[in-house]
Amino acid sequence: MLKKLAVVFIALFGMLLAVPTLVPSSAKYFPSWIKPIPLGLDLKGGAQLLLEVDTNVMLKEKNAQLYDEVRSALIDRDKGVIRFSDLHNTADGVILNIRDDGMLSKAKGRLRSVLGNNVDIDSNGKTLTIVYTAKAREEMISDAMSRSIEIVRRRIDALGTKEPSIQSQGGKYILVQLPGVDNPEHIKELIGQTAKMTFHLVNENVTSEQLASNHAPSGTQFLPYMDNPEQMVPVYSRVEVSGDSLKNSEASFDQNNMPVVTTEFDASGARRFAKLTTEHVNERFAIVLDGKVLSAPTIREPIPGGRGQISGGFTLQGAKDLAVLLRSGALPAPLTVIEERTVGAGLGADTIATGKIGSAVGVMFVLVFMLLLYGIFGLVADIVLIVNLLMIVGVSALFGATLTLPGIAGIVLTLGMAVDANILPFERIRDEVKSGASTLRAVDYGFTRSTKTVLDGELTNLICALILFQFGAGPIRGFAVTLSIGVMTTLFTCLLLSRIMIDWYMKGKSKKIGYIRMK
């Protein structure tokens, strides 16, 4: 009896969970954890972007950093210079030769103390190989992922998009979902920029011949202008101040009423910027964004306050975008949009409407079919089926499983198959009745014998759904969740609930009724 009550209670509760989804206006009467089922972007309209984080570029930069650290550790004057040769980057670290055999262990000791436990240091004769440990790499990548997500979020927030969802997917991807966005081109443009800003001095000693032949002297790079890629600027590779030290940036207008970006450094950035402008009056410095020169103004006088103004022939929108990018920070690794799916809000609404009608008609067909086949037992099956449908919706809502278009179709399919779980015991009962068993006995026997069958069939299905979830992406995963929930509710409703209802119906019927109308 207690078990029966529990079953009925769970069924009622499961159905209750579906109410906010079916009647959206009722949501306010429910506690906050009973929510309507969230709709996928294919149903409510919006843009979805899949971004790939290019961690190779970041690892390369880390390798370059390692090179610098190794070099400065070995030529440290205070601790004594350790002479070496042939220092160069390999695919995953640096390699060098120590000149003097006797210094080998000293070199290793010093590198270990400077570089810490993030690196493996191996020696082979005079050759030292220094690579980041696998663990350190993993940390760098996961750190880059979380920072990238944070920065993408800041950039998108700055554009005022409502309820964006930004999450990592599969280790190196970021999935961005923007409900209500019809045309994400501008967002794509903003996300696609690394926005790494650096300030360099311009090397005025470079001759025009050198520029023309593209042979940069060591320590100097030729970088193109942002708005005129043909024209190159020779800048020293050394970074004087970097965009990381920016505290704030805003779009505004200069005295000629041209759009510019005003920037403000933090304390240490301001100090470095002041030093730079004091020591290099009447020289040029270049403001470089992602390898392109925004502008290369001449320093007229020292700038002590840490405030600057970047001009670069911006449009107002360009200035605003740059300000947003600088405020949100540079991405640790370049991002590429590798997949875009946008559904206009109108189409989304149409899809819901037709999807609803189609599914409703499909379910109606099944209900009528069962009624025709099994009469009063069919009615029981129908009620169980409707409870099942409501429970799928309710439980999906509880887990926050997103409902997508394939998900709707999946629910209908689940219901079609749930019929099987009803037909199986009914057929058994019919067989028993035919062979002369009393109705009550037949019902008991029918349900008991078919339980294993139903269980095995549904569990193999569950395996299938779990695999879909594990290997599928995007809409397929949502669909797999719906399918798994469907298997659970089908087992519950068909094995437990329908038994209770049949028992209840049979109660009070005399045992003499050896025949039940089933066809």
């Binding site: 008609v361 099944v366 079609g416 198959m417 069958t453």
Partner: protein, 287 residues
């Protein structure tokens, strides 16, 4: 009424063999109508804001991109642009921006899908892996619950199902995309359920009738389950008919493919997966 499936099992094998051959030939020579999910590229559903902007004008505007344009319901236009070999994600994104730039305000975008060159390969690998892993796991489950012979039987018929479903997608020219993978896996799920239910009865009858010859026993079991097998698939197909007729264009291909896989799963359950058990000695306790 009793149907003799075992008597005609050679015919079943021949028919299946021919269908498998046709499927493989179609897959090899005709191939699949890959959606951009797999091939990469751009697919847009756009609606001109003015009636003057016709498909022909669009075609000439976008000539440089060699687009495929197709008008739907006299209103919306499907625009597809393939991905030239060796192009990068950046180039693809630049193309999208350029196309949107050219079309400008003259169209509204109902749907835009852009899939880069790398992601398609990952989807194919993921899909195939998913299918294979699910086959193995489901067979293992059957092995544990029943006996090795059943596991082998279901595995063989699942592979048959799979080849026929891929063949169907190829022959019918249905778009092969992420949803197609889902449909195939769902078809597999439906089919395995069918097979398990039938095997369950065979297993029960083996325990019940110790002396009955295997051919008669399988025939008996299949006949006992025949009504249920057919009714379940009719009911599921009815649900798909509802979706096909009223569910709108986007769900139609789904409903067609699903209906095919239900019919096929039912047929292979009746004619193959049960019949094939004859070749395994299921009466041996240890297999």
């Amino acid at each position: 009424m009793k149907l003799h499936f075992m008597k005609y099992r050679k015919l079943s094998y021949w028919v299946s063999g021919i269908c498998v051959l046709l499927s493989i030939l179609s897959i090899c020579f005709k191939g699949f109508n890959y959606g951009i999910d797999f091939s990469g590229g751009i697919a847009m559903e756009i609606t001109p804001t003015t009636p003057e902007y016709t498909v022909d004008k669009m075609r000439s505007d976008l000539e440089a991109f060699k687009p495929e344009l197709q008008s739907v319901d006299n209103k919306a236009v499907l625009l597809r642009v393939g991905l030239p070999k060796g192009s990068t994600d950046e180039q693809l994104n630049a193309r999208v921006a350029e196309i949107k730039n050219i079309l400008g305000n003259r169209v509204e975008y109902s749907q835009v899908q852009v899939v880069g060159p790398k992601i398609g390969g990952e989807l194919i690998r993921g899909g195939i892996l998913a299918i294979l892993v699910s086959f193995v796991l489901m067979s293992v489950y059957i092995w544990i619950q029943y006996r090795g012979g059943y596991a082998v039987g279901s595995f063989v018929s699942l592979v048959l199902d799979l080849i026929l479903m891929f063949g169907f997608f190829s022959i019918a020219g249905l778009e092969f995309n992420q949803t197609a993978i889902a449909v195939i896996l769902m078809g597999v799920g439906y089919s395995i359920n069918d097979k398990v239910v039938n095997y369950d009865r065979i297993d029960e009858n083996i325990k019940k009738y110790h002396k009955m010859p295997m051919t008669d026993l399988i025939d008996l079991s299949v006949n006992e389950m025949l009504y249920r097998t057919i009714m379940t698939s009719v009911s599921t197909i009815l649900a798909m008919v509802g979706i096909y007729v009223f569910g709108g264009q986007m769900l139609q291909e789904f409903a067609i493919a699903m209906t095919f896989s239900i019919i096929m799963g039912t047929l292979t359950s009746i004619y193959i997966s049960n019949v094939i058990l004859y070749h395994f000695n299921l009466r041996e306790t240890d297999y």
